[in-house]
């Protein structure tokens, strides 16, 4: 057993933390989140330059060949800075699917452009009534002439509005919730019969609603084997959960530190808040929640390379447990800050929003707790 980071991982950590620290202070973050595109082309370029857009990809495609721990490291730094760059959508989800399912040509073309920072991707998978079920796909892909025709709706697509290319899931066979029968298709942002409506999310990120009214695409826009894409989807979602777990830990760490600092400086009734035992213990409980979240994040990250059952058990443990802890830390950070914690101008309010809303991505606390129970039964 070994909990130490490799030399490469330590370097990665230093690199990404420095970048966030130097380019993403709170004021800048707010400006970026409020900007037209909702992210910074400049920072994205720096991420590319430092090789950070290739973290999870094989070196053949310009990547760093990183695993779960590397994703966690990147996530943690992004959580510390509340980074709103489309890393999750482009690198982890989109890039991950191309890496796992793409033809050599697709990988070369798309991953190269992703790593270079020239191409943004998004994974258009969720639907109006799919909630958190991964296999739930009602959108259809129909074979027509030399290609496919996509019809259906896609919901709450992370950075859908910013992407150059959407990876759209659509059903080629089976019932709406079968694991088999799901295909993935590359769709350009300007495709005919595609309607996209982008909105801000409450945590500062961007999401989009997408309507596909018979979008026609060529055969070379098929990713992987239509109907046999579920396992790749599950695997990139595992990576996504690991990135988010790291992000939660980073943001919780900031929320705890900020709160402890606030308690020490703020006075009430002639005493520093830090002298009130009830507030001390609350801060301690936040600190404990952070420690548990960190343990679960490491667990999931370290299990990414293991067989599916081992990996997914850790993924669901992490997503469920961290969802619970993150919400607790977020809510208490505001509570302990009092009125000032409720305002737009202080970072803690935005940490809280991100910490709570993370639970709405890729399955919430309940969803993953139930899934954990099922996976745990199967393992027994």
């Amino acid at each position: 057993m070994d909990f130490s980071l490799s030399e490469e991982q330590r370097m990665l950590k230093d690199t990404v933390e420095r970048l966030v620290r130097e380019t993403y202070d709170f004021e800048k973050r707010q400006k970026i989140a409020d900007s037209e595109e909702g992210f910074s082309r400049e920072v994205w370029g720096q991420l590319a330059e430092l090789g950070l857009l290739g973290v999870p990809f094989p070196e053949d495609f310009g990547g760093l060949g990183g695993g779960g721990i590397d994703l966690m490291i990147v996530g943690e730094a992004m959580g510390q800075g509340l980074v709103v760059e489309p890393y999750l959508a482009t690198v982890v989800l989109g890039g991950g699917l191309v890496e796992l399912l793409g033809s050599d040509t697709q990988k070369e073309e798309i991953l190269g452009a992703v790593v270079g920072g020239e191409k943004l991707l998004a994974f258009a998978h969720g639907e109006p009534d799919s909630r958190y079920e991964t296999a739930h796909v009602r959108a259809t892909a129909e074979k027509v002439g030399g290609g496919w025709k996509l019809t259906g709706r896609k919901s709450v697509v992370l950075n859908g509005g910013e992407a150059d290319t959407l990876i759209v899931s659509a059903r080629v066979s089976g019932a709406h919730d079968d694991e088999d029968g799901i295909g993935l298709f590359l769709v350009g942002k300007d495709a005919a019969n595609l309607k996209l409506h982008s909105t801000p999310a409450i945590d500062g990120t961007r999401v989009a609603e997408i309507a596909l009214d018979g979008v026609e695409i060529a055969e070379d826009a098929v990713l992987g084997t239509p109907g046999a894409c579920f396992h790749a989807i599950e695997e990139v979602l595992a990576r996504a959960v690991i990135l988010l777990s790291g992000e939660a830990v980073g943001a919780m760490n900031m929320a705890v530190d900020t709160t402890v600092e606030y308690l020490k400086t703020r006075k009430q009734f002639g005493k520093a808040l830090s002298q009130f035992q009830v507030l001390q213990h609350r801060a301690v409980e936040m600190r404990i929640a952070l420690e548990e979240a960190r343990s679960l994040a490491i667990l999931a990250a370290a299990r990414l390379g293991e067989p599916r059952d081992v990996r997914e058990l850790a993924v669901s443990a992490a997503k469920s447990g961290i969802g619970r802890h993150a919400r607790f830390v977020g809510e208490q950070a505001v509570q302990l800050h009092g009125g000032i914690g409720m305002t737009w101008e202080v970072p803690v309010a935005h940490y809280t929003k991100r910490l709570v809303m993370l639970d709405h991505l890729f399955g919430d606390t309940d969803h993953h707790q139930e899934r954990f129970a099922t996976l745990s039964d199967a393992a027994a």
Binding site: R131, Q268, M342, T352, V356, L361
Partner: protein, 399 residues
């Protein structure tokens, strides 16, 4: 013991319902039901309807124009208003400054201000909190220095709810900086916000909304007759205001309306192919909060009955504040969670009354995450829930 309402009380409920049916404007009702943003005119028209009916000042004695209701009637009225989609009655004039004026004000102040509150000529806001003095009011620093027949006010107030709509503010100001104890040397001052030197600056809350404000006073000249009661006795009046008429503090009516709305959402949302309300986990969370709400309502009614028979609520006020806010927060939390991924999109413009764009997700989704974050304030303001527990420990348990 009889938990049923008397025939008179039931008749009263019908009367309230009929009024709401006819006099609550439909567009306001629709905004409330849809969780839309209210603007000043919405509040004004609703308050006007109540005022016309004689039901605006539900806590006022009859002699000043109140309806002379029992606590149980007020409870019924609250419940029916929320259930019908009536906005809350803004308390700053009618339920905050007015009782203080009635109890401690001069005859001139009573004659001048009370009718103007009742007929909506004046719109009040509250100047209590200051930066650095949240729940600890005694440490306030905003000063009023006597200069002939005026006070010169300097300083800053904050968390002034809907101060952007108000034309009057009641303030706690420090009139004796050398008082032996911080609670001493404070006065209660009525200030016209059109007086030169007053600046109102918006505070944007974490949900992006402009609900509260900072109010700055820069050499503001306030006529000396605008002081309520005696100079340096403001702390007494402030405490009276804070403890006065807190039986509405449990907010049972609002939570019952929110509970119904939440169940409607849970019937509409699907999880694993079944309505969310049939999902065992969510279903049990709903049941738990519904049971807690039933207990809260009973506790509230017991306190009301006590008040009705002449008792004064003691630690019960704090219990009702704590549990009332916890339950309300839990309801907004469940509403957010019920939405699944659709809690994320934040379409601020969809909350405006005139919005006719394309909604994202189900039509009830837009305000839910925002409301959840906004409601975090409940356990902070009005004396944080931690402070309420201090009060119960000390006054209620002798600890």
């Amino acid at each position: 013991m009889d938990l049923n309402f008397t025939p008179e009380e039931q008749a009263f409920r019908e009367e309230v319902r009929a009024f709401l049916q006819s006099d609550l404007p439909d567009d306001i009702r629709a905004k409330m039901k849809g969780g839309k943003r209210l603007v000043k005119d919405d509040y004004f028209r609703w308050h006007q309807a109540l005022s016309k009916r004689g039901w605006l000042a539900t806590n006022w004695p009859k002699e000043y124009g109140g309806p002379g209701w029992t606590p149980v009637q007020k409870h019924i009225f609250d419940e029916e208003c929320y259930s019908a989609g009536g906005p809350r009655i803004l308390p700053f004039g009618v339920n905050m400054v007015a009782p203080v004026i009635m109890k401690f004000g001069s005859q001139e102040q009573k004659d001048y201000y009370l009718p103007r509150i009742l007929n909506l000529t004046d719109w009040w806001c509250q100047g209590y909190s200051e930066p650095g003095a949240g729940s600890d009011l005694a440490s306030l620093r905003c000063s009023a220095v006597r200069d002939g027949d005026h006070y010169i006010v300097n300083g800053q107030k904050t968390w002034t709810t809907l101060g952007q709509y108000a034309d009057h503010i009641f303030c706690l100001v420090r009139t004796d900086p050398d008082a032996a104890k911080p609670q001493q040397g404070i006065s209660f001052l009525l200030i016209d916000m059109k007086t030169p030197g007053i600046t109102v600056r918006p505070i944007i809350l974490l949900d992006g909304e402009h609900e509260v404000n900072e109010v700055w006073f820069d050499d503001v000249k306030v006529p000396a007759e605008n002081i309520v009661g005696e100079e340096n006795k403001g702390w007494t009046y402030a405490k009276y205001l804070l403890t006065h008429e807190r039986t509405g503090i449990a907010n049972v009516g609002a939570s019952k309306a929110a509970m119904l709305h939440l169940k409607a959402i849970a019937r509409d949302q699907m999880k694993n192919g079944r309505p969310l309300i049939e999902d065992p986990l969510f279903r049990n969370r709903l049941a738990k909060v519904e049971i807690d709400l039933m207990a809260l309502e009973m506790t509230n009614l017991r306190v009301l009955a006590e008040v009705q028979s002449g008792g004064a609520p003691g630690l019960e006020s704090s219990i009702l504040k704590i549990r009332g806010t916890e339950i309300r927060q839990e309801l907004t939390d469940l509403a957010r969670r019920a939405l699944g991924p659709y809690a994320l999109p934040f379409q601020s413009e969809a909350l405006d009354g005139g919005f006719n764009g394309e909604p994202v997700g189900p039509d009830y989704a837009a305000p839910k995450a925002q409301q959840y974050f906004n409601m975090r304030k409940l356990s902070i303001y009005g004396g944080s829930n931690e402070i309420q527990k201090n009060i119960i420990a000390k006054a209620g348990l002798g600890l």
